[in-house]
């Protein structure tokens, strides 16, 4: 199907189903219930899931396949965002030209930075990419304020030209859209105590993500993808086999930079503001962590990793002691206070602590990331057969 092998096609369909039904799946708890706090099915977060999914998928094409660890990929996300917002300001609120320019611009930046950085490998490459991204961040935050909006970020203004749309009539800013469909428009469905929100922006991003995911599968299974894995494995052999690793790695770098730019453009399309901190090293580090957390070099891993981190950031950070007390109100007072006191450091302003612990737990217990966790669960279910061929394991030598 779609030129994919059965296994890959199944994965694609699964991901498609998950994204289409996300508004249901992510809102399992009835509105107003104590657990509703854990619902993630609101437009902004769902959009973030898929957008960061795209970012991580692209990053994984470089890191997962070639092993080149870029520590400055957020720079391309930033470039994409700025390009998109400028497009909104100058040309039109239609998202397509914005996305197009963003992908082209980030591709050009990636070509330049990649061309230079790929002259080195290993940690030296990582530091080169980091240095470029940090320079771009610093300049965007200060010296380039007229172009980037500096600390505040690049915003739309009532006085923007917007050549294709004409000026802004009423006193409010226009919203990004796709030929009349406004990205922020939503429909709501109430089913008993449940409320589900279907947002145009989300579905737009989801479709783009599915395309990006499909493309990533194709790349993974292509001769090009195989060359990239060969680069990771043994560049020396590749050289003596008559292949030039440089253009391959550069192509991977540019492709993943364009994915980042695409993600940046989508972020700007959902929320037309581009801030410099999107390019800070912690943002680059975040995509690295997403990829590793999910599973380096796996197709679906980075998407899972992105989802996990964004969920923590947006859901766990919002739980405050008031909500905690609400949950445990049924307990006797002393016990309630005790439990709240025990949990409190891990939620709300302590969400970083939980994040750190999860990072550690995942690498320690699931060396292959979340994907490995999934595989183990799957294996546990499949291996219901009685015979375990491990008789030799009974008596360890040490």
């Amino acid at each position: 199907m779609f030129g994919l092998e059965k296994k890959d096609a199944t994965l694609l369909l699964l991901v498609a189903a998950l994204t289409i039904f996300a508004p249901f799946l992510l809102n399992p708890f009835p509105e107003g219930s104590a657990m509703a706090q854990f619902n993630a099915g609101y437009p902004d977060l769902m959009q973030r899931f898929v957008i960061f999914g795209i970012f991580a998928i692209g990053f994984n094409i470089l890191f997962g396949l070639t092993g080149y660890l870029s520590f400055g990929h957020a720079a391309f996300l930033g470039v994409g965002s700025y390009a998109a917002v400028w497009m909104f300001k100058l040309l039109s609120m239609n998202v397509l030209p914005a996305i197009l320019l963003a992908v082209v611009m980030s591709g050009l930046f990636a070509l330049l930075i990649g061309y230079i950085s790929l002259r080195r490998s290993g940690i030296y490459f990582s530091i080169l990419t980091l240095a470029f991204a940090q320079m771009m961040f610093a300049l965007a935050y200060s010296v380039l304020t007229p172009i980037t909006g500096g600390e505040t970020g690049l915003q739309l203004a009532l006085s923007d030209p917007r050549i294709l749309d004409g000026g802004t009539a009423d006193g409010n800013l226009p919203v990004p859209g796709l030929f009349g469909l406004e990205m922020r428009d939503s429909a709501q469905l109430e089913l008993g105590a449940w409320v589900f929100t279907f947002n145009i922006g989300y579905y737009f991003c989801a479709i783009v993500m599915l395309l990006a995911f499909y493309l990533a599968i194709r790349i993974f299974r292509s001769p090009f993808g195989m060359m990239l894995r060969a680069i990771k494995s043994n560049q020396q052999r590749l050289n003596y086999t008559g292949l030039n690793p440089k253009p391959y790695t550069l192509a991977a770098f540019v492709i993943s930079g364009m994915y980042a730019g695409l993600a940046g453009a989508l972020m700007a399309s959902m929320d037309p503001l581009a801030g410099a901190e999107r390019m800070f090293w912690t943002a680059s580090g975040e995509v690295v962590l997403m990829t590793i957390l999910g599973g380096v070099g796996t197709l679906i891993g980075p998407v899972l990793g992105a989802g996990a981190i964004k969920y923590m950031e947006n859901i766990i950070s919002k739980i405050n002691s008031d909500i905690l007390h609400g949950w445990f109100a049924f307990l006797p007072d002393g016990l309630e206070d005790f439990i709240v006191a025990v949990i409190y450091p891990f939620i709300g302003k302590g969400w970083h602590l939980t994040l750190g612990l999860i990072f550690m737990a995942v690498v320690i217990f699931l060396p292959g990331g979340l994907v490995e966790g999934g595989q183990r669960i799957a294996r546990a279910f499949r291996r219901k057969k009685p015979d375990t061929p491990k008789s030799a394991k009974t008596e360890p030598a040490e």
Partner: protein, 343 residues
């Protein structure tokens, strides 16, 4: 001219901070081959050893101040450290005043213990794992350590001054024949510079004049074979880790009077110290030190207003710009060894 000397002095001082942190980092990162994102956290914990000792000395009971009220109109309470009760007020005050230097003694065992626990409990299992896994686990650890400190000490910086004897500055310019007030230099920074020279020297001597260094280098290149030669490399890696943690911690202790410590000071230094180590060249201690001083001095030059006016924003990017230039002209940084973290 005097402006240049001034910036060289500043650069040396900034550089000694970079060099010291990079030294500890390169012991772990360049030598043991572990990408330790928790190194900044070790630096931070060192600084908080000083804060903690200061707090311990300041453990107090309250005494009512007659005739005065606090902001709610209640009688004003004044804190009197128990230390005053034990050794008398003037001696107590002197001890508190000297808490940063005293914290060196306090920090050494603590940092070694922290380092050893960290290595035995966690890092040990990651020597053979991919760098990506090391990044994730040490980054997670760094966040956890940071959050623990934040939980107990808050997010605000905590002033931890140097002893009174080292406050203020001396006029270095006047000493070498320039106009007064052209080249001034704070006493504590001189102390910091000397301190880092001593520590760097000590670490070098330890690794240069003992076979320990050779064994560790060999163990990093090929653990298995070193084991075949009867050497328990794990033990030495643990020692190395403890040593690196102590170096990072001492850098942190001594840094507290320069900038009030806060829980994220380690993260602030982290990226920079990686840049320093890599520019110095992987696996090279002298490289790390050299790069530390070089980048410190260049950063100081770039912050001169004559330079900024000439190239706006240069002070923002100088370190990265220099890093790029060096890495492009010298494939393995200043003094890197071949094959260390090149793939």
């Amino acid at each position: 001219m005097d402006a240049l000397i001034l910036q060289i002095l500043n650069g040396l001082d900034k550089g000694s901070a970079y060099a010291l942190i990079a030294l500890g980092l390169t012991l772990i990162f360049g030598t043991l081959g572990v990408v330790n994102f928790a190194h900044g956290a070790l630096f931070m914990i060192g600084a908080f050893c000083a804060v903690t000792l200061n707090r311990l000395f300041n453990l107090s009971h309250e005494v009512e101040v007659p005739g005065e009220t606090d902001f709610l109109g209640n009688p004003l309470m004044r804190d009197v450290p128990y230390l005053y009760d034990i050794v008398g007020e003037s001696a107590g005050a002197a001890i508190i005043d000297w808490s940063v230097p005293l914290a060196i003694l306090f920090a050494i065992p603590i940092m070694i213990i922290v380092g050893v626990i960290m290595e035995r409990g966690l890092i040990k299992h990651f020597y053979k794992r991919p760098h990506a896994d090391q990044i994730l686990v040490t980054f997670g650890l760094a966040i956890v350590l940071q959050e623990i400190i934040k939980y107990y000490y808050g997010a605000n910086p905590i002033p931890t001054p140097a002893p009174d004897a080292f406050r203020g500055s001396f006029d270095f310019g006047a000493m070498i024949g320039f106009d007064p007030n052209t080249i001034i230099y704070p006493y504590w920074r001189l102390v910091y510079f000397c301190f880092s020279v001593v520590i760097i020297g000590a670490v070098f001597a330890f690794l240069q004049f003992t076979t320990f260094g050779m064994v560790v280098r060999a163990g990093m290149a090929d653990r298995e074979t070193v084991g075949l030669l009867g050497i328990d490399i794990d033990k030495r890696f643990t020692i190395m880790f403890g040593l690196a943690a102590a170096v990072a911690g001492l850098a942190g202790v001594m840094y507290t009077p320069i900038n009030s410590p806060n829980y994220h000071m380690g993260m602030d230094f982290l990226v920079l110290s990686f840049v320093v180590v890599v520019v110095g060249g992987m696996g090279s201690l002298p490289g790390a030190v050299l790069a530390g001083f070089l980048l410190g001095i260049l950063e100081s030059f770039a912050s001169m207003r004559e330079v900024i006016n000439f190239v706006p924003g240069i002070n923002q990017v100088i370190i990265y710009l220099v890093a790029i230039i060096i890495l492009l002209t010298r494939p393995r940084g200043l003094m890197g060894r071949k094959g260390v973290m090149e793939d």
